[in-house]
């Protein structure tokens, strides 16, 4: 955590450093000499740490959540795949042009049951980040995802997607290979896919690039993940021609999990371990796994695949808020 500590983490690292220091051999020796019992002091500080963390993490601003969602130590799709599934067998390529490593996927076992899992994958180090284009997929990635979704459909495997991207690639190559078409195609085809789809937004749900993997029957967000039509920086640039006002923009955009839930866009919020998923990936993975199994159970009970697809359509159909005036009201009601 040394190097880039976010502002909101500072009160926490302060106490953490204090505890660390008291636990150092040098301080212990000193204490022994002076006959002071440090363990009581440490226990006290650890309680204090817990209190500070609860206070900080229950009151994160939308911008702080954005930072946490982008945290460099945050577990990525492959981390969760390792922790949640058995026998993951990665499949590669879109069978058209290339293999886009910003999206990974393949069959795996979820509690004795074969499923297809697809996730967006950022990179840990610079090299991997470049190889995976920082998790921003080109058309080839979305087409690989669709290929795997079709495979899942043919073998009656539920599809599980993990969303984590700042957005789709927006460079020359993306445009040449039709990234817009690839996203649009996925939106349409996932809405018609004849197998249950469960979506979990694990970090950043960035605009169309996220949506290209986010059409499903049940959509969950991790507590500190975000989901937005545009990045806070992009929004700030448009509104105020000032990217440094991203914090204000994050608030305006209503991009937190609780915002998404009250807007009716997601079905539930998965609580993160205190301090965020990166502090305890194993517990986080357990929570996600339990949620996947619950959703799967629910979706299994649909009487037919046609009803499943119609319910999925109606789910999307309900999204949006507007006023519908009957012609007679038009005069009196200004909306």
């Amino acid at each position: 955590m040394i190097g880039d500590v976010f502002d909101f983490e500072k009160p926490i690292t302060e106490v953490e450093n204090l505890i660390q220091e008291l636990k150092s051999p040098q301080r212990r020796e000193e204490a022994l000499h002076e006959g002071i019992d440090l363990s009581a002091k440490i226990a006290e500080l650890e309680e204090e740490l817990h209190r500070v963390m609860v206070r900080v993490y229950k009151n994160l601003s939308p911008w702080e959540k954005t930072q946490l969602a982008r945290h460099k130590d945050r577990p990525y799709s492959l981390d969760y795949i390792r922790l949640i599934f058995d026998d993951f067998f990665e499949l590669n390529g879109d069978r058209l042009a290339a293999n886009d490593e910003a999206i990974v996927g393949g069959p795996a076992i979820l509690e004795n049951r074969p499923v297809m899992v697809i996730g967006q994958q950022k990179g840990r180090d610079i090299k991997e980040r470049q190889r995976r284009n920082f998790g921003s997929a080109h058309a080839e990635g979305f087409r690989k995802a669709l290929r795997l979704a079709r495979l899942a459909e043919r073998f009656h495997m539920p599809l599980i997607t993990l969303v984590d991207t700042a957005g789709a690639a927006a460079d020359l190559h993306a445009e040449e290979f039709g990234v817009s078409e690839a996203i649009a195609h996925n939106l349409r085809e996932f809405s018609l896919l004849k197998t249950p789809i469960i979506v979990t937004i694990i970090g950043e749900g960035g605009s169309g690039g996220a949506l290209g993997l986010a059409i499903g029957d049940h959509v969950s967000m991790l507590e500190h993940s975000i989901y937005s039509v545009i990045s806070p920086e992009g929004c700030a640039a448009i509104l105020w021609h000032d990217k440094s006002r991203a914090s204000d923009a994050a608030k305006s955009l209503c991009l937190t999990a609780s915002n998404a839930h009250s807007l009716g866009v997601i079905d539930d919020i998965l609580p993160e371990p205190l301090g965020g998923a990166h502090r305890d990936p194993v517990t986080m993975a357990e929570t996600i796994k339990t949620s996947l199994l619950t959703s799967l159970n629910k979706l299994d009970s649909f009487p037919s695949v046609d009803i499943l697809i119609e319910t999925r359509y109606q789910r999307l159909r309900r999204m949006g808020e507007y006023v519908e005036q009957t012609p007679s009201e038009e005069e009196s009601n200004d909306g």
Binding site: A170, I183, A184, Y227, V229, Y313, M319, E321, G335
Partner: protein, 283 residues
């Protein structure tokens, strides 16, 4: 084909999305040629010198596209709210309404093209950049569902900067909503035609605009995923001059035909004939 007389209608309710100074002359936005307003309007706002296609308002477009007097609007009474309480959004809506005399950024309805019935939708760039929020998405989905229920082909003219930021996530979801409605049309064997006009970008291009069975475009229109500025930033790559234009998209297999404005109506009529009215009844 441009039918004579479309300009003769009173401009009330068809106010242009481009700023045409009141008067006798106007200037081409690309070549700066001074043009007589009368010639310019008669040529459907295509520059008589360089051929640049200036933006049209939704009603100007409808007028040059459908059989005279055949357009019947649908769902005009669905109006935007301000679900996120977003900075200045109500004021922007109000201004857009006043400037365009429209109730939202897309006009949808039924019409005839060469005596063939269609559902048609036309975005108006003058209304908040033609951006797609809840109402635009809802009108598109309802237009498609109308086509589904009455087995009518659906023709959508796009002109939009993308999803409407002021409705946040709800705007993003309109991409999903409209695309899934397009899926319903496809399953039912109903023809869906998109005509991309200047500009068609972002969340609109990455959703229903890319899903037409046939995709036509006007020449020189800006068509792409991110704006050119955005595309330019991340790599040092020199972008081709036609980057994110309809020509670029056609060259990369994303557009069937680029047609000048004056040929669009004839082309649509021909497509309706070739696809047997645009509804496959054996399904």
């Amino acid at each position: 084909m441009v039918r004579s007389g479309w300009f003769s209608r009173k401009p009330t309710g068809n106010k242009s999305s481009t700023d045409i100074p009141a008067g006798i002359v106007t200037k081409c936005q690309r070549c700066n040629e001074i043009l007589f307003v009368r010639d310019f309007e008669r040529n459907s706002k295509v520059c008589t010198k360089c051929g640049f296609h200036h933006k049209l308002s939704a009603y100007e477009r409808i007028e040059i596209t459908v059989d005279e007097g055949s357009f019947q609007p649908l769902n005009e009474d669905i109006i935007s709210r301000d679900p996120l309480n977003f900075i200045e959004y109500p004021a922007k809506l109000e201004k857009a309404r006043t400037n365009t005399k429209l109730s939202e950024a897309i006009v949808t309805g039924t019409a005839f093209i060469d005596n063939k019935p269609v559902v048609i939708g036309v975005s108006d760039f003058g209304y908040m950049g033609g951006s797609m929020g809840s109402v635009v998405g809802e009108r598109i989905s309802r237009a498609m569902e109308y086509g589904l229920a009455h087995r009518l082909p659906v023709i959508l003219f796009t002109a939009s900067g993308g999803a409407r930021m002021q409705e946040g996530l709800l705007s993003l979801m309109q991409m999903a909503k409209t695309s899934s409605s397009a899926g319903k049309l496809r399953e039912a064997g109903i023809l869906f035609v998109c005509v991309l006009t200047d500009p068609t970008t972002g969340g609109v291009y990455a959703s229903y605009a890319c899903l037409g069975d046939v995709i036509l475009a006007e020449p020189g229109a800006i068509v792409g995923f991110a704006g050119r500025r955005v595309g330019n930033q991340d790599t040092g790559v020199n972008l081709p001059d036609d980057f994110q234009t309809s020509e670029f998209q056609a060259e990369h297999g994303m557009v069937d035909r680029i047609l000048p404005r004056k040929e669009m109506r004839t082309a649509l009529a021909l497509l309706l004939k070739l696809f047997d009215g645009g509804r496959h009844n054996d399904r």
